[in-house]
């Protein structure tokens, strides 16, 4: 016979303990109480000190300063910005610059990092040594050192605009930065872009068809020539019909500087080069450990199927290695974004440099500005970590099945 489920005895003290979470003992609850008291006391002391100090310095606290006019120029603004704009606008300009330099750095670092990481595992002895030397050299030098090296020694040593180097026609390297032709969209730009998009969609459809034919019927269908023809041919035909979509505004030397074209600041170039080469060395190590984590049998099975080394890497090894590599890879992307704040050392106007640097020294609102800056980086990093955790959880689950 099954008896009725008995009710838990009513023990209020034990329930209180459970709510407090002290599985261990009453001393745990006591520790929490003491901790709370100490924290409250510290908070009280801090608030009182801040009030007294701010009153002594005559600084009004609060976020009102954000709407005041900043009154300083920013050397690279990708959204419209005037000197009379508010500090909030300065914040936005800096944030955009940080995101831009991080995004470009992430793309470059990923490409370089995968190349170096796979190169380090190459059967070619010389390539493996070169890649190893690159990783060891870059990883063992401080990032700030590398940023200053690129900025002061390499880009600073370039000649002035009048003697600038021109590795490609229309591209000029000088100590004022890198000047490249500026693409100017014409009337037919939208049509050609639409044609390109259509071509890509058609090519993807062809790829899907080929895949289905392979998996359903075991037929190998060669579609890539048609796909390539659509992607290239369609926009080309439109461009011939309606005229070129872009013209280039080629820079010209006028007086002591360049007119026309797009100028990349030397600060931007130095920061991008340093961040992407530095992070690439770490990504290379992550890629290497991921590839080494793929068991030997997978390689041998692929070889016995007669796959070339390229196919082996692309179809078998790298997809499995990615499962190990992705979490640290996301960490490296995060590090790159956080490290972009070193821009302040060379004066690239990123979030930290214009906001916590210039705006802070102008307004003296240390608490508010540093809190906002920290909050932005913290938000970026927490969001990325959360996304990665979810993704990781899904990949891990699929891997087990």
């Amino acid at each position: 016979m099954t008896g009725e489920a008995r009710k838990a005895p009513f023990r209020p003290l034990a329930r209180f303990k459970r709510i407090g979470g002290a599985r261990a003992s009453w001393s745990g609850l006591a520790a929490q109480a003491v901790l709370l008291a100490v924290l409250a006391w510290l908070a009280y002391e801090m608030v009182a000190n801040v009030r007294a100090n701010l009153a002594a310095q005559g600084i009004a606290s609060g976020f009102g300063f954000l709407s005041h006019s900043a009154g300083f120029a920013v050397s690279q603004a990708l959204i419209p910005y005037e000197q009379t704009d508010s500090y909030l606008r300065v914040f936005a300009v800096g944030l955009v610059n940080t995101l831009v330099v991080s995004a470009i750095g992430i793309v470059l670092a990923t490409i370089l990092g995968f190349a170096v990481g796979l190169g380090r595992l190459s059967p070619n002895w010389l390539l493996a040594r070169l890649a190893g030397g690159y990783v060891e050299l870059i990883r063992n030098l401080p990032l700030l050192y590398q940023i200053l090296f690129w900025y002061l020694a390499v880009l600073g040593a370039l000649p002035g605009p009048r003697q600038s180097l021109s590795p490609l026609p229309g591209v000029f390297l000088s100590n004022r930065g890198i000047v490249v032709p500026e693409p100017v969209p014409q009337a037919s730009f939208a049509i050609v872009v639409a044609a390109l998009a259509l071509g890509i969609v058609v090519a993807l459809g062809l790829g899907l068809y080929a895949r289905r034919a392979l998996f359903r019927h075991g037929r190998v269908v060669r579609v890539w020539p048609y796909a390539l023809a659509t992607v290239i041919g369609l926009p080309l035909a439109m461009a011939l019909l309606f005229g070129p979509p872009l013209t280039f505004d080629v820079p010209e030397l006028r007086g002591f500087n360049f007119a026309g074209g797009v100028r990349l600041l030397p600060e931007f170039a130095a920061l991008t080069i340093a961040l992407s080469t530095y992070t690439a060395a770490f990504i290379a190590e992550n890629v290497r450990s991921g590839v080494l984590a793929v068991s030997r049998g997978q390689w041998e099975a692929g070889e016995s199927l007669g796959l070339s080394r390229g196919q082996l890497l692309r179809l078998i090894v790298v997809p499995q290695a990615l499962r190990v590599t992705l979490p640290p890879l996301a960490n490296q992307y995060l590090n790159l974004t956080k490290n972009s704040s070193l821009a302040v050392a060379i004066g690239y106007p990123d979030l930290f440099s214009v906001f916590a640097g210039t705006a802070l020294s102008q307004t003296g609102q240390a608490i508010e500005i540093i809190a906002i800056t920290m909050a932005v980086y913290l938000a970026i990093s927490l969001v990325t970590t959360t996304i990665m955790n979810v993704f990781n959880w899904r990949v891990a689950r699929r891997g087990q099945a």
Binding site: W41, V50, L126, R139
Partner: protein
Amino acid sequence: MSAASSGFVRGETAQVRPAPVAVTGAVGWLRTRLFNTPGNILLTFICAALAWLVLEPAVRFLFVDAVWEGRDRGACLADVAGHPVGACWPFVTAKLGQFIYGFYPEAQRWRVNVVFLLGALLLVPLLIPRLPGKALNAALFFAAFPVVAFFLLYGGGLQGFAVSWSASALAALAGSLTEAGQRLGGAGEGGLVVAAAAAALGWLGAAVAWLASPLFWLREVIRQSGEPLWLDIAATAAGVSVVALWLGGLRALAKVLASFAGLALAIVVLGLDRGGLPVVSTREWGGLLVTLVVSVTGIVASMPVGMALALGRRSNIPLIRILSVAFIEFWRGVPLITVLFFATYMLPLFLPGNFTMDGLVRVLVGIALFAGAYNAEVIRGGLQAIPRGQGEAAAALGLSYWTTMRLVVMPQALRHVIPGLVNSFIALFKDTTLVLIVSIFDLLGQLRAAFSDPTWATPTTLFTGFAFTGAIYFVFCFGMSRYSLFVERRLNVHRRR
């Protein structure tokens, strides 16, 4: 069916095949590792060209075309030297003092050298696993060396010791409690709860003051005497000895007495009772000295922070766990430079107005907390690797939580994560360069300052300076990473096939 009639069996011996291509020896190695396929041959040539393009100019710049002697920039100009000029080494020679000591007064630089020497003498035996006496060595390096180094580098003497320090701290605590109570009560609003809290604070302050009153009395007695420092040390030694004898027996007593004897010896040698060495303010420190001070302090101070946070994150007391997680994730989520700005511009606002903190110390606090959060995650990895059975066995033996952690779990966990810790120390060492952004002149900061000297302004000065400091950073970081590999291999001996 006989074997001879079967079409599948051959009647005659197969022809002797030529020997396979050699894959051993130098030629075989070349064939398999460099020239096995057309693609690989091409790759080899591209890599060789690349290596030549990088190495040849580097060697030419650093050694062949370098200028080794000279008094000023004149020696490093191409038209004076008569050939294209590479590295300008006289620049490094002239600035060497600045690179190593910063603006530390020349007459006092022996103190820095003594600290470097002491540190090396204590560190090297600590790193060689075969040498005995690790506990004593570690205690000397992590506890005694920082104190001695402080008095050597900074200078100054001691007025009092533990008795007067603890008396002052308790007096400050009591004062703060009483003041908070008065202010809370003085506001006059907020009803019964606030009034009760104010009264409780007042009572607490009074109680602390009353409990500490014997200590205050002792402090006064010591102050009145002719030798306040020595009397204070004697009082402290007596107190600690009694506690040690009570808790740990004769063995502990002997250890305590030996420690105090060492302390007295250090005080006599450094002359701390007579005012000590002349004070060199931290603003005059610089170069490699600051780099090493910041990184060693960061490493030493971040370890206890990291251990405490790692234990806190695994604690089953919710408040402690939540606070630890929040603390760790906060510091790991922000760039170090914001932490340094926080320490430089925000921290002074949080401290009482009459309390000024040295700029270097502020930065050290920030770096220690930042590195502590990273260490905490590394140590947590080690704690998770310890099987549950270890803790349960310790509990079955009747060990308390702290004894279990100290004697059973932590030693095993730390052993597991030495490579990870060394990696985070390398990161910390590299990150010390960031202090130059808050105007503390470490090695990189001194280098940058040296570039602006017109006496040495030549086209190659920049590359020379970067080559020299880069070599220093590389030697330190590469050395640490090799050491970490060495320890890792040693720890994994049993796993090797």
